[in-house]
């Protein structure tokens, strides 16, 4: 069964079309990278898959619905004095959206939370105040938070942003391990393909209402990207890295679901 399925999907705000005619099937265990410049609709695609944003036309299906989706946001500085431990963050991923106090099944809950923390190797600091942990430690806990609900789909929204190389590798390997062991489909929004290039099965590249889906080789070449950007773009392979020259596609960006929902 397909994990994510989009048929003739169109999203527009007034006259501005983010994408149109998007057909996409993501299979269980597949790793799909979503690339594109700012404002090309990457975060909007994520909001559609989370059920927060209706399509202008077309259909979207996510196997298991919203509750089967694990979401990993980008790392950002947390308030140092925040009264929250890694254990609490992970627990919210399990039942934070349910009403009530959650006084029943505490033992079972604790076992699942402990297992998720252990699976990302965060047991040692799971009881520390989360604001005092490093960015890499916080992102490991984010992975655990997404995994604890046993997702069929993981949506990763720039999860490696502002991490150093070693931690980028740790976090992306944790995500890779999960999709290999449990067949979880991964949709990975990023502006930097290279850190995850060895893991990527297919790329969805969005530019100004146009898009292309295919393997990294099919999409990440001078001809395809020049067509997408409608301007000459040079794609160079240096060792096992892909460098895109002339697209202006690599700006840093920060965005948050909550702030976009509020505005």
């Amino acid at each position: 069964m397909t994990a994510i399925s989009l048929r003739g999907a169109r999203l527009s705000y007034g006259d501005r079309v983010l994408w149109d005619g998007l057909d996409l099937d993501v299979e269980p265990g597949e790793f799909l990278a979503v690339l594109g410049p700012n404002g090309s609709g990457k975060t909007s695609l994520m909001r559609v898959l989370l059920g927060l944003q209706p399509l202008s036309s077309g259909t979207v299906t996510v196997a298991g619905g919203n509750q089967a989706v694990g979401y990993i946001p980008q790392q950002r500085a947390l308030d140092q004095s925040m009264t929250l431990r890694g254990r609490d963050l992970v627990g919210l991923g399990l039942d934070g959206a349910r009403w009530g106090l959650g006084l029943r099944h505490r033992r079972e809950r604790r076992i699942r939370v402990d297992a998720a923390i252990e699976s990302v190797g965060a047991t040692r600091y799971a009881d520390e105040p989360i604001g005092l942990l490093s960015g890499g430690e916080q992102q490991r806990l984010r992975v655990a938070q997404a995994l604890v609900g046993d997702p069929t789909v993981m949506l990763c929204d720039e999860p490696l942003l502002s991490l150093d190389l070693a931690n980028q590798r740790v976090v992306s390997e944790l995500i890779d391990k999960r999709r290999r062991e449990a067949g979880t489909a991964v949709l990975f929004v990023t502006h930097e393909l290279n850190p995850v290039l060895p893991l990527v099965d297919r790329v969805l590249y969005l530019v100004g209402g146009r898009f292309r889906v295919g393997t990294p080789d099919e999409v990440m070449n001078s001809r395809t990207l020049s067509e997408l950007y409608r301007t000459p773009v040079e794609v160079v392979r240096v060792r096992d890295q892909i460098l895109v020259v002339g697209a202006g596609a690599c700006e840093e960006q920060t965005h948050h679901l909550a702030s976009e929902a509020a505005s």
Partner: protein, 270 residues
Amino acid sequence: MTIFDLLELDFVQTALIAAAVLGLVAGVLGPFIVTRKMAFAVHGTSELAFTGGAAALLLGIGVGYGALAGSIFAAVLLGVLSRRESDRDSVIGAILAFGLGMGILMLALYKGRAANKFGLLTGQIVGVDSTDLTLLVVSSVAVLAVLAFIYRPLFFASVDPDVAVSRGVPVRGLSIVFAVLVGVATALSVQVVGALLVLALMITPAAAAMRVTASPLRATVLSVVFAEVAAVGGILLSLQPGLPVSALVTAVSFVIYLVCRGVGAVRRAA
């Protein structure tokens, strides 16, 4: 009279029960208020509770109902007007100033006892009668029941809004509901410690608790204990020397806060 004679008095007992109920509600709400950075919103809401109370005094209806109406009005207004966190501060500032001005105007027009006026600002817990106490207990139970129902999603939305949104938590709706809960609790506190000193019960105990633990559950338990000690302890201390209740409630609360800051600093250095 000794303190034991004083404790026999009906109005003292009523005051102590009122303080204990308030300590519980304020202590439970406090950690959410601090996490959501709503200290100033609580202050603004309490000023509007004062305005409502003053209006009620002028119209000759129960001050408690006026305060309740004023602060719920403020809470809803704040929730609707300040969609963005960035302009929440200025919205509160603008509403607060206007509300306080209106309150003072209404007190100036009021021809009754002057003590009633002053009480709205600095508290008059010994003036709480059994009708007030009933309103207080019923409202408190309602606040706690609603809070229990929305507890997990509210906590999620408060500490981790991005992921909460992704899980379908109605973040915006919850923040309005929570603002109303805070409004009700504030209106109740106004009668005990007065509009100007509400922060001593709603913020200080929680801020103190959150200095010494990173566990949300422990922070809530400590926050309730601190709020109870401040509210009930403040009244007990004020009885014998006959000092204003609100002065002692805030003093006790502040001492607890200082001690917790100290403990937190020592632990972090270790």
